[in-house]
C-alpha cells in the first residue's frame, strides 16, 4: 500500500505527444463504444508492483466476488503498472506500446484501477488505449477524492482515512492514554498519508504528541523502547529512512511494533499480524469486493457516469491481533463492537476438548479406583492387625488359663493330703501327750499320715505322666515351621514392643517327632519371656535372635536369645523349678512346664548363656529316626 517506493518524475515533452495520440484514439473509438453492449471483460490496473500484500488481498477478494456474485463471470485481465518501480523517463510510452500490442485483439468492457496517487497517469493510459471505456476507481481516500475533478464515465467509491481514527482506537483500548507517538518515516505531501499532516494539530489538542517520524530505523527503534507508560504508538508508514535504507512497509511495521515498549496501532489490514495490536484499518479485501460489484453493475448496463462516488462502509474495519491483546493485557471488552479478532490461539480446551474429557474421565476413574483400593487395603490391614492381635491375646489367654488351671489343680491336689498329714500329726501328738496316752488312736493317726503321704506322691507321679500321655499326638514336625508359626502369631506383639527379630533358621533341618502344639507352646513361652525380659531396656536395642541348627549328636537345637538385662544368678539356680517366679505376675510354671514338655519329647532345655546383655535359652530335640518316620 505504501506507494512511495520510488518517486518518479516524468518529463513534460512526453505528455504533449501523448495528448495527440489520445485525441486521435477518442475520435476513432468513442462513438462505437456507446452504441454496443460492453464486452464482458475487466482490465484491472494496479499502480504498483504485485510485491505488496495490499494488492494480493485486494485482487483475491475481487476475483472471489466476481466469481460468486454473477452467473456469467467476466474475464479479468490484471496489469501491474509499477509506476513507482520503473521510473524511466519514457516509461509511459513503453507501457503504452506494450499494452497496445498486448491488447490489440482484446476488447475491454470496464477498467478498474486502485489509482490513488498516480490517477493522472492511469487515466491517460486509458484515454490513449481504451478511450471511453468506463473506469471504476477502487477506493480513494475521501479527502483526496474531494480534490479531484473526474472526467465522465469514471465512477468509484471512497473511504475515510484519518489519524484521529488510529488515535481514537488507541484511546479506547488503553486506559489513561496521555501520549501519542507518531512512528514512521516523515509524512510527506503527495504521499498516501499526506492528509495526516492536517490531522496532527487536532490530535495535539487532546494528547501530547511525540513525533518520532523522520529518524533512522535504528534510532527510531531505540526511542520506541523507552516510551513512557501512558503512551501508545501509531504507525504512519515507513519506506526510506534518513540514511537511505529502504524498507517494505510491512517489515518496517514489524520492526517498529517489536521495538516499542508500548502497544502499536496501525491503519491498514496488511499490518495485522506483524506485531501491532491492530486498529480501525483500511481493508484491501473490502476494496476488492466493492470494486468488483461496481464493475459488474457497469457490465450489466449501468452508466458509469450515473453512479455517484460514495463512501463505502465496508472498507474501514476494526481488526485486532489476539496475541498482542494478550501481550499488552488489553481486555476484549474494550474492543469496538463487531471487531475482527485474529490469530486467536484456541484454548487447550477448545483444541483438545475430547481428549481432555477422555483423559479426565480416565483419570477420575483411575483416582476412584486407587482410592477404592487404598480404602480396601487399609481396611484389610486393620482387620489383619486386629485378627493377629486377637490371636495373640487368645494364645496368651489359653496359655495363662491352661497353666493357671493346671497350677490350681496341682495346688489343690497337693494341699489336700498335706492338710490331712498336718492334722493327723497334731492329733497323734495330742493323743500321746494326754495324761493317759491313747497309743491306739495315735497309731491310727500315724497310719493316716503314711496314707496321705503316699497319696501326695501319687499326685506328683500323675502330673509327670500327664505330659507323656500326649504321645499319640506326635507327628513329624519341621521345627522351622513351628518357629515361624509362633513368630507370625506374635508379630503384632513384637511390633508393639518394638522388638527387632533376627531369625537364622537352618535350611533343610531334619524333622523331629513331636506334638506340634506343645512344641509351639514351648517356643511361644520362651519368646514371650524374651519380650518381657526386654521391656525394661531401651526400645532401640531390643533384639530377639532365633536360631535353629542340627548338631552332630543327631539333635536339632533351637536357641532363643534376648537383649534384655539377663538373669540374676539367684534366679538362674531355680529358674526351672515349679512355682518359682521372678515376675510379679505368673505362677512360675512356664519354664517348668516347658522343660517337662521338652523332656517328655526326649530332649533338653537349658540356659545356654547369660551375659549382661541378654539370656539365651536353648532346647535340643532328637531328630526323628527312619523307623519312626516309616511308622508315621
Amino acid at each position: 500500500m505504501e506507494r512511495s517506493f520510488f518517486r518518479a518524475s516524468r518529463g513534460e515533452p512526453r505528455r504533449i505527444v501523448m495528448r495527440i495520440v489520445f485525441c486521435l484514439a477518442v475520435a476513432l473509438t468513442s462513438v462505437s463504444a456507446l452504441a454496443e453492449p460492453l464486452p464482458r471483460t475487466i482490465l484491472f490496473l494496479d499502480e504498483d508492483t504485485p510485491i505488496y500484500p495490499w494488492f494480493r488481498q485486494m485482487s483475491e477478494a475481487f476475483y472471489a466476488t466476481i466469481k460468486t456474485e454473477t452467473a456469467n463471470p467476466p474475464f479479468v485481465f490484471i496489469e501491474s503498472l509499477g509506476i513507482d518501480a520503473y521510473a524511466a523517463p519514457d516509461y509511459f510510452n513503453i507501457l503504452r506500446s506494450h499494452f497496445r500490442e498486448k491488447y490489440r485483439d482484446k476488447a475491454i468492457g470496464v477498467i478498474v484501477t486502485d489509482a490513488s496517487r498516480e490517477l493522472a497517469f492511469t487515466l491517460r493510459l486509458r484515454n490513449e488505449l481504451w478511450p471511453g471505456t468506463p473506469v471504476v476507481l477502487a477506493g480513494i481516500q475521501e479527502r483526496r477524492a474531494a480534490r479531484l475533478s473526474l472526467p465522465s464515465n469514471v465512477t468509484g467509491f471512497t473511504f475515510r482515512h484519518q489519524l484521529q481514527d488510529i488515535v481514537a482506537t488507541a484511546d479506547a483500548l488503553i486506559p489513561g492514554l496521555k501520549r501519542v507517538v507518531l512512528a514512521g518515516s516523515r509524512i510527506e505531501r503527495g504521499g498516501w498519508r499526506q492528509d495526516f499532516l492536517d490531522d496532527v494539530p487536532d490530535v495535539r489538542g487532546r494528547f501530547e504528541v511525540i513525533d518520532l517520524t523522520g529518524l533512522s530505523m535504528a534510532e527510531l527503534r531505540q526511542r520506541l523502547g523507552e516510551l513512557p507508560g501512558d503512551s501508545a504508538v501509531t504507525y504512519v508508514g515507513f519506506s526510506t529512512d534518513v540514511t537511505g535504507e529502504r524498507y517494505l512497509p510491512n517489515e518496517a511495521s514489524q520492526l517498529i511494533a517489536e521495538a516499542a515498549n508500548r502497544p502499536t496501532f496501525v491503519d491498514s489490514e496488511t499490518f495485522i499480524g506483524k506485531g501491532s495490536v491492530g486498529g480501525l484499518v483500511v481493508s484491501p479485501g473490502g476494496i476488492g469486493r466493492v470494486a468488483a460489484r461496481f464493475a459488474l453493475r457497469i457490465l450489466d448496463g449501468e452508466n458509469a457516469s450515473d453512479i455517484p462516488i460514495t463512501n463505502s462502509e465496508e472498507i474501514l474495519r476494526p481488526v485486532f491481533d489476539w496475541r498482542q491483546l494478550q501481550h499488552w493485557g488489553i481486555s476484549e471488552d474494550r474492543l469496538p463492537v463487531g471487531s475482527d479478532v485474529r490469530f486467536r490461539s484456541p484454548t487447550a480446551w477448545e483444541q483438545y476438548r475430547w481428549q481432555i474429557m477422555l483423559i479426565s474421565a480416565a483419570l477420575l476413574l483411575q483416582s476412584l479406583l486407587i482410592a477404592g483400593l487404598f480404602y480396601e487395603h487399609r481396611r484389610r490391614r486393620q482387620a489383619e492387625v486386629q485378627a493377629s492381635r486377637r490371636m495373640a491375646e487368645l494364645a496368651h489367654m489359653n496359655r495363662s488359663a491352661a497353666i493357671g488351671q493346671m497350677s490350681a489343680s496341682i495346688v489343690h491336689e497337693i494341699n489336700q493330703p498335706l492338710a490331712a498329714i498336718v492334722m493327723n500329726a497334731g492329733t497323734g501328738l495330742r493323743w500321746l501327750a494326754k495324761d493317759t496316752p491313747n497309743v491306739e488312736k495315735a497309731a491310727h493317726a500315724l497310719k493316716n499320715i503314711v496314707g496321705n503321704g503316699n497319696r501326695a506322691s501319687q499326685v506328683v507321679q500323675t502330673l509327670r505322666a500327664m505330659f507323656k500321655k500326649e504321645i499319640s499326638n506326635r507327628t513329624l514336625v519341621d521345627i522351622n515351621d513351628a518357629i515361624r508359626a509362633v513368630l507370625t502369631l506374635l508379630r503384632i506383639e513384637l511390633e508393639e514392643h518394638e522388638v527387632v527379630t533376627k531369625a537364622t533358621l537352618k535350611e533343610g533341618l531334619p524333622h523331629v517327632m513331636a506334638d506340634r502344639v506343645q512344641l509351639q507352646q514351648v517356643i511361644f513361652n520362651l519368646v514371650t519371656n524374651a519380650i518381657e525380659a526386654m521391656s525394661s531396656i531401651g526400645a532401640d536395642s531390643r533384639t530377639l535372635r532365633l536360631r535353629s541348627e542340627e548338631i552332630e549328636s543327631g539333635e536339632c537345637i533351637v536357641a532363643i536369645e534376648d537383649s534384655g538385662p539377663g538373669i540374676e544368678p539367684e534366679t538362674l539356680k531355680r529358674i526351672f523349678e515349679p512355682f518359682f517366679t521372678s515376675k510379679s505376675k505368673g505362677m512360675g510354671m512356664g519354664l517348668s512346664i516347658c522343660r517337662s514338655i521338652i523332656e517328655a519329647h526326649g530332649g533338653r532345655l537349658w540356659v545356654a548363656g547369660n551375659t549382661p546383655r541378654g539370656a539365651v535359652f536353648e532346647f535340643a530335640l532328637p531328630v526323628a529316626t527312619h523307623s519312626v518316620r516309616d511308622q508315621v
Binding site: 495346688v411 489336700q416 493327723n424 492329733t427 495330742r430 493323743w431 496321705n452 497319696r455
Partner: protein, 122 residues
C-alpha cells in the same frame, strides 16, 4: 459338767474329713463327719450342732451354698470354712457371707481351736 460342743465336719476329701474329726475328738469336741452338705442337712434337724466346719469346694452344694441355706432358714449356726485352693479372695467372700473363719489347708489344730472358740462364744 456341760456337754461337749458338737461339731459337724463336712468335706468331700475322706482322709482329711477323718483326720479333722479325729483331731476334734482329741481336742475334746464331739465331731460328726459328712461327705457332702446334702448329707449334713439330712441330719441337721435332729442333732443340735454347735458349729460347722465345711470345705468350700465340693461336688454338689458348696460351703457357701450351705451357709446361704442356713441363713435362709434363719439359722445362726456358726460356720468355719476350709479350702485347699490357692484362690486369693476367698477370705473376703467367706467373711461377706458371715463365716467365722476361713482356714487354708494345710492348717494346724491351734488355728482351728482359735476359730472354734470364737465361734462358740457367740
Amino acid at each position: 459338767m456341760p456337754r461337749e460342743p458338737l461339731i459337724a465336719v463336712i468335706d468331700d476329701d475322706e482322709s482329711f474329713r477323718v483326720a479333722l474329726a479325729e483331731a476334734l475328738s482329741s481336742l475334746g469336741y464331739g465331731a460328726r463327719a459328712f461327705a457332702s452338705a446334702e448329707e449334713f442337712f439330712a441330719d441337721h434337724e435332729t442333732e443340735p450342732y454347735d458349729c460347722v466346719i465345711t470345705d468350700i469346694h465340693m461336688p454338689g452344694m458348696s460351703g457357701f451354698d450351705l451357709k446361704r441355706r442356713l441363713l435362709a432358714r434363719n439359722c445362726g449356726l456358726p460356720v468355719i470354712m476350709t479350702t485347699a485352693d490357692a484362690e486369693p479372695d476367698l477370705e473376703a467372700k467367706a467373711a461377706a457371707i458371715g463365716a467365722v473363719c476361713l482356714l487354708r489347708k494345710p492348717f494346724e489344730a491351734d488355728a482351728m481351736t482359735d476359730c472354734l472358740e470364737r465361734a462358740l462364744k457367740v
